[in-house]
Symmetry: C2
Amino acid sequence: MSTIDTLQKLLFDLAGVLPADTEPLFAMTTPVSLETNEAYIREGENSRRLAFIEKGVIRAYTIKENGDEATLLLRWEGQFIASHDTIINRQPSRFIYRALEPVKLLQIDYGVLEEILKTHPEYEPLRNFFLMKMLAESLKMLESFVTQSPEERYRELLSERFDLVNRVPDKYIASMLGITPVSLSRIRKRMYTKGKQ
Amino acid sequence: MSTIDTLQKLLFDLAGVLPADTEPLFAMTTPVSLETNEAYIREGENSRRLAFIEKGVIRAYTIKENGDEATLLLRWEGQFIASHDTIINRQPSRFIYRALEPVKLLQIDYGVLEEILKTHPEYEPLRNFFLMKMLAESLKMLESFVTQSPEERYRELLSERFDLVNRVPDKYIASMLGITPVSLSRIRKRMYTKGKQ
DNA sequence: CCTTGAAATTATCTTTTGTTAACGCCACAA
DNA sequence: TTGTGGCGTTAACAAAAGATAATTTCAAGG
């Protein structure tokens, strides 16, 4: 199933919009391909990009004051990715979005989407869907930080997203868990030697 | 300015809706008062409550497997509070929402709001506003967990929300920072003795 | 005024993480 | 084949956090 098919089905399920009636929306979307390690959005950029990931993994990260990188989140196929600083706060992006693998996206500018929604309110449920999905995911990650230890967060990530953990270098996983790569390595050792898996 | 005035102004600023045209919306809202320590939403509850806080502080927390509480977030006047498990995921709330002070809310059921939005799409920007605001806040907290140490998160909380820190018992602040009350006490001591404030 | 209980601090000890550096592994290119 | 550089692991030590318990503080109720 193509990306547009997927999104058309989503729009039909959410709002009963027939695929034939989605032309005004998809006419304004652009397919984008990224090579491994290519930046999708750079720090300081003002583009208000919203995209649906067809294939590949994207990492959103920021550069800390001391120069180290901190990974905020990873997104992969079937998910939306959005430059939240520019879309929500209308400020230059403090984050960098970079492909960890070859990536295929279907992209729309958020400003353009807003214009379309003015004349086509029947697409509105799609916006709410992606906002709610991102909110749910953010709150889930936040919950894991206040309820779980780094080791528990890693175990959960392994059980829920084993495929992802195996596709992404450990140092980015560690950073997303809020710890250093050294510490993640120790956690792995504890898990696999003490057999408490 | 009353709560309804505040929200009417917000709706006008966001969408140009005149206060006189907001009656269908506010007719479905209910003022709610909570005493100190009163639960607004209990664990397992299915009500899809969305509220604007006029006065007071509400704490959202969950009970961990070991019986300890973990505070996910605090909300105070001028913010929205929502039972996110029930609204987004349509599952019984895993969180408890409890007043830390006497609280005044203006409440609407999310299902009712959705019905109103079907016939009054002009209110739609209000829903987007609260979703985006909650998303921005969640991402900001998430960012602090991957970029900052507990001490740095506490310092930032002090500088940005000093009033809040002084209104809320330390143990809840600690839990929201992802650490124990003992550890927060040590952080405070480090800060005020080593003078590195 | 005294009692009570919850919250915060302090102390002690254990565990985990951070920091820095060294080492081995491996893909990739010269 | 031989570097080369990035990544993960390991080591050694310092710093911070967790667990538990004792102590202090303080506000509320009797």
